[in-house]
């Protein structure tokens, strides 16, 4: 989830009220953001994906001010009628169909605001914009461009000077060599032509979603800005634009409309949703007499059962989303936490109960239960055991050592013995764990090692376990390459093959770097449960 760094002085300025550190800490945590750290200079917060509007410092300060009761209710944003026109070429339809824009005048830029602007673009791109695929933002110095603009496409030989470069590069060169080009080239790889923003004189503004041009760059001297958002999802583009322009408006800038192919943007009118106070009370377990004051604390407007939702809120899908905001305004800490009257009848899963019983019996033999990963090392499961098996494979394991799901327990237990070689013998271990064949079963593996470990010892435990469960095992000599030939048995209960018991093959022991004999068994607990 995105984390933003805010200038503490700036935030306190915008709050317009002196607030103690303790209060600030508490309120930031209780509004629905996660405070990572705070010192004299900086506040670092994690903003949840449902509130991208809080990724701008102004948006964050506005939400906090409202929540703290300093300045509550819905803000109205004025959009001045502008004479800016954008022509949209048909060519963009396949590549990146949607574009929305706004002009912002009289911005007071300084290093901090420019830093914020870069931060919010980066974070919106990353999360809300799904790494620029869903949407991407461009901000330009308005006074360096001439209207009307064109949002169109150009071939891959087309040249311009990309941001932070001194000379012209072709589109292909940018995609292959420029750091931003290589990061995002995959977003354009399926298209012959690439999207570009051009001004009246064919001056390049940007090549979305990759990079802006050097010519139209924003600096501290910039007074007026042009903003575009392009992408695959029109609604998301509009929301991102609204988040940015309302942020500038909060800092006193003026917003002007832009005509994009006949449609006027930005649209900063609130959306309206009905709310039912009984529903609110029922979900929250409260008996509120009104919801207006709570909604206003969260920046909403309210009139006669209708809630006005600010244009920058992206997360309000239905009434239930408003219920959460009312709960936040009420304060999670103010709820009287209490269990419901409904008692219910407890019921343990029968198999889990059985598994627990079996494990408890084995501890009676002085065995230690281990806890190993269900993800396993492929070689341990197969090659090192002297057998070959088809395993469930993981497509994208970050940890390459563990790249399959285990299909039996004994290799995992041998791995445990391997890592405990420095301790004295005897060592006696067991574990009932999930195996993937690929059908999921629970198998019980048990191993014991000492200088004279023998078949009889493992067999005695298995016999005794069956006896405790009221069952009898039948043993039949069998060949299994993981065990010593002539010292391994296939075990059946009620006619069903259910386990192997025997002495581990010394070749296997060598593969696991073990020096003492090891004996044990592998028992299908899921099937044993069915039988018993």
């Amino acid at each position: 989830m995105p984390t933003i760094t805010l200038d503490k002085k700036d935030i306190l300025n915008m709050l317009g009220k002196k607030v103690s550190d303790a209060e600030l800490r508490d309120r930031i945590s209780m509004i629905g953001t996660d405070l990572e750290s705070m010192d004299d200079k900086e506040i670092v917060v994690e903003v949840f994906p449902d509130r991208p509007d809080m990724l701008t410092a102004a948006g964050f300060a506005k939400a906090l001010s409202s929540f703290m009761g300093i300045k509550t209710g819905l803000d109205h944003y004025k959009v001045n009628k502008g004479s800016f026109k954008v022509k949209v070429d048909k060519g963009v339809k396949k590549v990146r169909p949607h574009a929305v824009c706004a002009v912002v005048k009289n911005v007071k830029l300084n290093e901090l605001i420019i830093q914020y602007l870069m931060q919010v673009q980066e974070k919106l791109h990353k999360t809300f914009g799904r790494d620029r695929r869903k949407l991407s933002i461009g901000v330009y110095d308005l006074d360096k461009i001439e209207f009307p603009l064109t949002y169109g496409v150009k071939s891959r030989n087309f040249k311009f000077i990309p941001l932070e470069m001194k000379k012209e590069m072709s589109v292909n060169e940018i995609l292959e060599n420029h750091p931003k080009g290589t990061d995002f080239a995959h977003l354009l790889k399926d298209f012959k032509d690439v999207p570009v923003w051009l001004d009246k004189n064919e001056k390049v503004l940007s090549m979305p979603p990759i990079i802006n041009s050097e010519d139209t760059k924003v600096s501290v001297e910039s007074k007026n800005l042009f903003i575009d958002v392009t992408g695959l999802d029109l609604k998301a583009c509009e929301q991102a634009l609204n988040i940015l322009v309302t942020g500038f408006s909060e800092r006193g800038a003026d917003i002007y409309s832009v005509d994009v192919g006949g449609k006027s943007y930005p649209n900063l009118e609130p959306k309206k949703v009905k709310i039912d106070i009984d529903y609110v009370n029922k979900v929250l377990g409260l008996s509120l007499k009104e919801v207006k004051s709570y909604l206003e604390k969260m920046g909403y407007g309210y009139e006669k059962g209708i809630v006005k939702i600010p244009c920058y809120r992206t997360d309000v899908i239905s009434q239930i989303d408003l219920v959460e905001d009312i709960a936040i305004a009420y304060g999670y800490e103010n709820f009287d936490a209490s269990i419901s009257d409904f008692g219910g009848v407890a019921e343990e899963n029968k198999f889990e109960e059985f598994r627990n019983k079996v494990c408890n019996i084995l501890t009676g033999f002085g065995f230690l239960e281990t806890n190993t990963y269900n993800l396993a090392k492929k070689d341990d499961q197969t090659k090192n055991m002297g057998i070959s098996l088809k395993l469930v494979e993981i497509e994208n394991a970050l940890n390459e050592e563990y790249n399959v799901m285990r299909s039996w327990m004994i290799p995992c237990l041998l791995d445990v013995l391997r890592s405990n070689k420095h301790y004295e013998v005897p060592q006696k271990i067991f574990e009932a764990g999930n195996v993937f064949l690929p059908s999921e079963k629970v198998r019980l593996g048990l191993l014991l090692t000492n200088a004279s470990a023998s078949y009889t010892e493992a067999r005695q435990i298995l016999d005794s376990l069956f006896n405790s469960l009221g069952l009898v095992g039948k043993y039949k000599s069998v060949v299994h390459d993981s065990f010593i030939s002539g010292r391994v048995a296939r075990v059946s209960v009620n006619g069903k093959d259910i386990a192997y018991v025997g002495e581990i093959n010394p070749k296997v022991l060598k593969n696991f770097s073990l020096e003492n004999p090891v004996v044990g068994f592998e028992l299908n607990l899921s099937e044993l449960f069915e039988i018993s």
Partner: protein
């Protein structure tokens, strides 16, 4: 302890060693005179020291002894002597000398240098012995005398000679000789003068019980206060002990246990929980994807979920994406499956599970790729947010946490959403455990057929149990260090 008591508590070994402690000065000396094993003497001396009979001082000395090559040279003569012998009668070339003596080329070279320095030879194509050389053959060299004097303590030997000879390969070696010096105390002196009867019973035997002979003798007294070697019982793994404890708590609150598969379709793990198909959580870095596809559930449920996604998130829902097999990333998948199987008459009902989940993360102290989650749902037309907080608070109180804090949070499938923190005394700080909330109508309706409040939670159990066991690294849960497993305290 009085001398009398002391006498009655003497172990048979101590009785055997006792006669020597006033006469001998060291363990080795006692060992030599008593014909006891070193370990027997050592143990007896240690017990004596514990009882204040004597004091032990470790005395490690370095002893120089003949090495592997040294032994051979002592019988055949040092290489330089063999060299001289070979040319006593006749001048020879170096090759011939090497052949005649069987000395290696290196040994020949070392001897050559040595003999040249001593002026014992004249060097040429063939080497000739001098009068001085012949003289040397008649007497024992200082090196030979040195070797013959071994073994000897290092301090007593000529330092320069020692240094020289140590340079020659495996001629001599230094070994550390461990010994213990003993110094008898006043109590010890009294004890050694006392009359020591060995008429004590060491071990009670069935025969003694039968014939009553134990009544005529005294039992040797044990030192019941000293430590004894540790033993440990067989044990459940401490994580499972904690899991069982948590399970008991949910059962005590009237919950039923739910279970289900680890391998799931993306449909159950994500789609059924209203997680859009382009959500970052579904991307490669967080989730383990398996080769192959899983089946989707009934068309009715699939269609209902698809409709909800397309209306709520405004995109085209793709069944192929939903069919990808994943290792469940949360036990919330069990909640979704359970809800989908419920009928009207089953309600209200409460379920829990404690199970393993899988996230594709690099291992470090606070991240595991497999971890346990405690999951719960309450499906009840009358349930509300207050109850949600109530169930969680009750659970954590029973797990030993008095302070629980609830903060606003975000999950795609709950609204309102809650982050649960508990106050950990050991760390003097709040620890974040995981999420809870009321399932969104967009989750419940397609699965259950209608919108009923479903209180839901799923938090990591690992962090809850760390402080109890005094563990700082989550990886210890899967370390399986047998010593740690043996010694770990039980969950009480």
């Amino acid at each position: 302890m009085s001398v009398k008591e002391l006498v009655e508590s003497l172990h048979p070994l101590e009785r055997k060693v006792l006669p020597y402690i006033s006469k001998c000065k060291s363990l080795k000396e006692i060992q030599g005179k008593s014909n006891l094993q070193e370990i027997e003497v050592s143990r007896a001396l240690q017990w004596f020291e514990n009882k204040g009979v004597l004091k032990i001082k470790k005395n490690n000395s370095e002893l120089v002894q003949i090495g592997k090559n040294g032994k051979e040279y002592l019988s055949k003569g040092l290489p330089e002597k063999q060299f001289l012998k070979a040319i006593r009668e006749k001048r020879l070339s170096l090759n011939e000398i090497s052949e005649k003596t069987g000395l290696s080329r290196q040994e020949v070279n070392i001897s050559l240098g040595f003999l040249k320095r001593k002026k014992a030879i004249i060097f040429g194509k063939e080497i000739e012995i001098t009068a001085k050389g012949k003289e040397l053959l008649k007497t024992k060299s200082p090196e030979e005398k040195f070797l013959e004097s071994l073994p000897k303590e290092k301090e007593l030997l000529n330092k320069d000679m020692l240094k020289d000879l140590l340079k020659r390969r495996e001629l001599i070696e230094i070994v550390v000789k461990k010994d213990k010096l003993i110094e008898i105390t006043a109590l010890g002196k009294k004890l050694s003068k006392s009359k020591i009867s060995d008429n004590f019973i060491e071990s009670l035997t069935p025969a003694m019980i039968r014939d009553g002979s134990f009544e005529k003798k005294k039992f040797r007294k044990y030192d019941v206060e000293i430590n004894v070697p540790k033993i440990y019982p067989g044990k459940r793994h401490f994580v499972n002990e904690a899991k069982n404890h948590a399970k008991k708590i949910w059962l005590s609150m009237g919950f039923k246990e739910m279970s289900g598969p680890v391998i799931n379709s993306g449909f159950w793990n994500f789609d059924s929980l209203f997680v859009p198909q382009d959500h970052p959580a579904r991307e490669m870095q967080d989730t383990f994807f398996l080769k192959g596809k899983s089946k989707l559930p009934s068309k009715k449920i699939v269609d209902a979920v698809k409709k909800q996604h397309e209306e709520g998130w405004k995109y085209k829902w793709d069944p192929e994406v939903a069919m990808k097999s994943v290792l469940r990333t949360h036990t919330t998948v069990l909640s979704a499956r359970t809800i989908a199987n419920l009928k009207e008459k089953d309600l209200p009902v409460k379920y829990f599970s404690i199970g393993r989940n899988y996230r594709n993360e690099a291992l470090d102290w606070s991240h595991l790729f497999e971890f346990n989650q405690s999951e719960g749902i309450v499906i009840d037309p009358n349930a509300n947010f207050k109850h949600l907080l109530g169930y969680l608070k009750e659970f954590f109180m029973k797990m030993g946490y008095d302070d629980v804090r609830f903060r606003p949070a975000y999950f795609p499938y709950t609204e309102p959403s809650v982050e649960i923190d508990v106050y950990v005394k050991e760390k003097d700080s709040w620890v974040e455990l995981g999420g809870a909330g009321i399932f969104r109508p967009e989750v419940v309706k397609p699965l259950l057929g209608k919108d009923i409040p479903v209180l839901a939670w799923g938090f990591g159990l690992g962090r809850v149990i760390l402080p109890y066991y005094g563990i700082k690294d989550l990886r210890d849960f899967y370390k399986n260090d047998l010593k740690q497993l043996k010694e770990m305290k039980s969950w009480i």
